[in-house]
Each structure stands twice: as C-alpha cells, then as structure tokens.
C-alpha cells in the first residue's frame, strides 16, 4: 500500500520546528491587527462574545489567542462568531470562552499543516475504491 505513495525526497523541507513562540509584545501587536481585520465576522457575535473577541484599547488581550498570527486570531474570532450565530442560545458565557480556547488550539494545530509544502498532484490519503466485495450475509458467514 505504501509503495504507491509519491516520494518527497526532492521536495523543499517543511519548517523544522513547527512550534512557534511569540513574545507578549508581538502578541499584543498581532492582536491589534487581528481586531482590525475582523470586519463583519466580529459583528456576528452576540454582545458578550463580541466584547471578549476584540479587546478595547488598554484592555489585556485574550490569553487564549496568545501566539497566534493576526490572520489566525481573526479566523478564531470568525469561527467563534459563526458558532455563536448558530448555536449561541445553547452556550453559557463560560462555554463561549472555552470554545475560543478550543478554536485557538485548533489554529495552532492547523498552522504547520497549512505550512507544509504541497504540489498540485499530491493526493490526500483518502482514496476512492472502485471495486467492492459482495456483502456476505450472516447466513453465508455462519456456513463458512
């Protein structure tokens, strides 16, 4: 099965260390950009969530978003807004905060995957099977 995979020995190497660190100062700077880029996504949030998503000037940035690049922080807020819009009535304020932390962690998971160099012909590991066995009935199985 593994023989069919295309080799990657001639590919540019992906980033060696996929764990990024970021200083608090950088974080604050990034978040300011993130807040600016929220646009309409931020408006979808309910009042509570919205206030949490974009800290007012002078407020501490949300630690849940620490270490995220501006576009990643913006995506967290956009995705949280989408959740709140559809399922907000089911969520307590604490759960909304928890969801932001989950979404931020998902961004951290996605970052090195998105940075991985891929080319047009690189297929996903899920492939289509074009032949199927005939389902064996329980009675046939019992006989065998």
């Amino acid at each position: 099965m593994l023989d069919s995979f295309s080799g990657d020995s001639e590919r540019p190497a992906p980033p060696e260390d996929t764990t990024r660190t970021i200083s608090r100062r950088e974080f604050g700077r990034n978040l300011a950009v993130a807040g600016a880029s929220l646009g309409s996504a931020g408006l979808l949030l309910g009042a509570t969530a919205s206030a949490e998503a974009v800290p007012a000037q002078g407020h501490k940035p949300d630690p849940a978003l620490e270490g995220l690049a501006p576009d990643e922080a913006a995506e967290v807020e956009s995705r949280l807004a989408s959740i709140v819009q559809k399922y907000g009535s089911r969520l307590s304020p604490d759960q909304t905060k928890h969801l932001r932390r989950i979404l931020a962690q998902n961004e951290r998971l996605l970052a090195p995957v998105r940075a991985f160099p891929l080319q047009n012909g690189d297929p996903p590991s899920s492939i289509l099977r074009i032949s199927f066995d005939q389902p064996e009935t329980a009675a046939q199985a019992e006989k065998s």
């Binding site: 764990t19 399922y87 969520l91 759960q95 969801l99 989950i102 979404l103 962690q105 991985f116 064996e136």
Partner: protein
C-alpha cells in the same frame, strides 16, 4: 468457584485446560461472572454483564467439547467487549448518556467471529464516552463513572478502553476487546499492567462498532500476554466486505515463518514524549537489555520531523464531528459528562473542506517518512505511556495542553501501524510501567514476536494487583 490461580491464567493456558477437559467452560464462566459481579462495581469496569448469554454459550461449548468437537483456542473462553460493539439483544451505550438505552438489533462482525469460535461473552466493558471522539478532559467522562485501576483504586485505568483495562487487570475475564483511535488501548494496557495490542489498520473488521474516525479506528485485543493477543487476533482478524478498510486474508497465529528473523533490529526512540518519567525510562532501557541478551540488536532511532500529532489530532476531530453530526446538531451533546465533549463538536464544525484535504494530503507524506524508518528497524520501542497511572481526579484538557510534537501514539495511529504494550516494571508507588513495540504497517507478527520474547524472559506480566479475594458465593 475457581480460584485466582486459575482466573489469572493466560488464554492459552485456559484453552489447554478446556481442551483437555481439566476445566469446564460452565465452571469457568460462572467463576468469572461471580468475580465480575463482586469486583466489577469496585472498578466501574462494566457497563453491562451478560450472565444469561454467557451461561448459554458456556453450556453449548461444554456440550460440544464433550462430544469431541473442539473449535480452537477461544472455545469456551470468557471475554468482555468494549461497549462500543453491537451485541444483539443487549444495550450498546458507547459509554455515553445520550445512548444509555441504545440497542442495536444485530451482531458486529467481531461478535459473529467470536461466536463461531465458541467464545463466551461475560459482559460489555465500560468506556470513556464516545471513546473520546468529541474530546474529554478527565476519567469522569463516562456515564458509568470513572474506571478505577485495580493496582490502586485512587488511580485511573486510562482511556478510552478504561473498563477493558480494569477487566483484564483484575481477572474479571482473561481477555477483553478494546479499541484504539489514538492510544486508547496502548495507554490502558500500560497503566493496568497488561498486554494490549493495536493491530494494523484494517486488520480487524469494525462493522458494528461505533465510529470515531473512519481512517484511524481499530479494534484491539487486551490480554495477559502478547501471545494471547496473537491468539485472539487470529480469531477476530480477517477480511470483511462490510468494512471498507478491511485488509484481505486472515491472520494466522502462531506463524513463525511470518515473524522477523533474529536478530530483531529494534530502534529505541530517542525523540518522543515531551516529558517521560525517569523511572519509566530506566525500565524501558532495562527491558531492551533483556531483549539484547536474548538476540535482539538495539540502537537509537529518531522520528523524522513533521506535524504528526497535529495531523492525527485534526483527522480525529474532523472525522468525529461528521460521525457524531446528529448528536451535535441535535444539541444532545450537552448530555455528555465532560465539559469539553459538550461543546467541542461546535468547534469541529468550523473546519473547512480545504482544512480536511490539506490534513489528508500531508498525512500521505508523513506515512511515507515513517515507513522509511522501518528500512533500518524491524521494530521501534518506547514507553507505553509517558508515566504510570495518574490520579482519578487529574484533569487534562486536551484543548489547552501544549502540543506533544512526537507522541508515539499519534504517529503510529496516524500511519496505521501495529503496536503492542506489555508490562516492564513498576513505579515507586507500585503502579505498572509499560513498554510498547511499534511495527511497520502490516507487520503485526513482529510486534507480537518482540513482546512475546520479552515476556518469555521476564515475569512482570505474572504480577497481580492487590485485590482481596471476593467472598465465597
């Protein structure tokens, strides 16, 4: 009732005694049932006991064997099933309150196979809700309560095959079925001081078993020895057209011709785990010295760079939100026990199609990188888990932990590799340590051979947890 000396025997030894009629299947089933009824609640080991079915199957086995019709090594042998596998006529709860009364009107393929082998089902083992499919943060994420470790009931068994680990460790059955999407068998095996094997992806049919992540779910034997895992696998493995990932052919065992030639080439992984218990590290080194003294060649091996853990975690999350879409959409995920499980699905819905495809495209490369490692090694070895069992009350919120870059279970599960953990010592608190062997995809015989060789020269697997004998019935 049979005593501990019999109930702690391996499947192979029990099978020999049944075949030679030294033990009757009915007496054996009665003994394990009685022990399960007495001790099971102490460990929150079971979701359901199946006394009526067990005795019916045991009587049938006894009659057949008496008539000279011996079906094989699992004939008349009791076992427990993780409660995510469908058994006709009994609840299949998936460990989760929203499914507490669920009854599936058919038998899973694995149950059909075990029925044909003449096995005796004593119960359905407790588990972490949805096998952790929507995430969980503590041992309490099960509607049957936190499973308690027979070695110390203030400690957890690990999950998600939490009840299966307790069942085997406390000799409530000689083997139990677990499942493993990313570590759910290897960790409970290590923490409970038993053998647990994750077969190659596709080796065992999952038809009739709850899905978390179709591209990563495996069903797994948990037993007293590596040899028992091989015996059980020889019965439960085999092609099934009802599982699209099912591998062709059967799984013969024992099969010396399919095992790697000596010397076994073992790569001791040097760059896995963020933090490893120093005592456990020593125990793994000592275990590898035993193997070296018995013909293995051990050298250091390193996992190549790559976002393994991220791809594994994302694959599970993305597939799980599809598998449990109805539960999440309906809002009934709020009935789950764990705070993370109640809401994680909403976050999972936010992944895009492109996110998923990107993850699966990267996965292809990671598989190839790991496969190349096996050009130099028959097996990779490391600790079964990074520590001995943790306290029941510990909370570990996956959604906030630092990402473990090269957790062996993430890597090997992502790539569908076989792995087997066996006990290799004890912590200062006398909790079991485990060593795991990881093989190339499809090379299940290699991991069994290495673990079996180790157990032939050590006796950690014969140690019993400090459980008082149940009172006489």
């Amino acid at each position: 009732m049979l005593g501990d000396d019999v109930l702690y025997l391996s499947v192979r030894e029990l099978g020999d005694r049944i075949r030679t009629r030294q033990i009757s299947p009915v007496e054996l089933a009665e003994s394990y049932l009685s022990r399960s009824e007495t001790l099971g609640p102490r460990f929150h080991a079971y979701a359901t006991l199946t006394r009526e079915l067990a005795l019916k199957q045991a009587r049938a086995a006894q009659a057949e064997i008496a008539a000279g019709h011996y079906r094989g090594p699992l004939h008349g042998i009791p076992y427990a099933l993780k409660d995510l596998v469908a058994v006709e006529g009994y609840p299949t709860t998936w460990g989760a309150r929203p499914f507490a009364t669920q009854k599936l009107g058919y038998n899973a393929t694995i149950v059909e196979r075990l029925n044909r082998a003449g096995s005796v089902l004593v119960g359905k083992a407790a588990m972490i809700e949805l096998a952790g499919g929507l995430g969980y943060s503590s041992a309490h994420a099960s509607f049957t309560g936190a499973a308690r470790n027979p070695w110390n009931t203030k400690c957890w068994t690990c999950g998600s095959s939490s009840g299966s680990g307790a069942v085997v460790s406390a000799a409530l059955a000689p083997w139990a079925l677990g499942s493993d999407t990313r570590g759910s068998t290897i960790c409970p095996a290590a923490w409970c001081g038993i053998a647990g094997m994750r077969p190659s992806f596709g080796r065992v049919s999952r038809y009739g078993a709850m899905a978390i992540a179709w591209s990563m779910d495996k069903l797994c034997p948990m037993a007293r020895t590596a040899d028992d895992c091989g015996l059980v696998l020889s019965v439960i493995a085999g092609h099934d057209p009802r599982d699209i990932a099912s591998l062709p052919g059967e799984f013969p065992y024992p099969a010396p011709e399919l095992e790697p030639k000596m010397p076994l080439r073992i790569g001791r992984l040097t760059n896995v785990w963020n933090k490893l218990d120093p005592g456990l590290d020593d125990a793994v080194n000592a275990a590898l010295r035993v193997l070296e003294q018995n013909g293995a060649r051990v050298s250091e091996a390193a996992i190549p760079d790559g976002p393994y853990e991220q791809v594994a975690e994302l694959t599970i999350q993305m597939e799980a939100v599809s598998a449990f879409q109805e539960l999440i959409e309906s809002g009934r995920c709020s009935e789950l026990e764990d705070p993370l499980g109640k809401i994680n699905g909403y976050a999972g819905f936010q992944f895009t199609l492109n996110d998923y495809l990107q993850v699966q495209r990267v996965r292809t490369f990671l598989q190839e990188r790991i496969d190349r490692l096996f050009d130099d090694y028959d097996l990779l070895a490391t600790a079964g888990e990074s520590s001995a069992a943790s306290a029941i009350e510990d909370v570990d919120d996956d959604s906030e932990d630092p990402i473990e870059q090269r957790a062996p279970d993430g890597i090997s599960s992502l790539c569908g590799l076989p792995a087997l953990s066996v006990p290799c010592g004890f912590s200062k608190e006398h909790l079991p340590f485990g060593i795991q062997f990881i093989g190339r995809a499809l090379n299940d015989h290699a991991v069994i051979a290495a673990a079996r060789l180790y157990q032939e020269h050590t006796d950690w697997h014969t140690q019993r947890p400090p459980i008082a004998d149940p009172p006489p019935a």
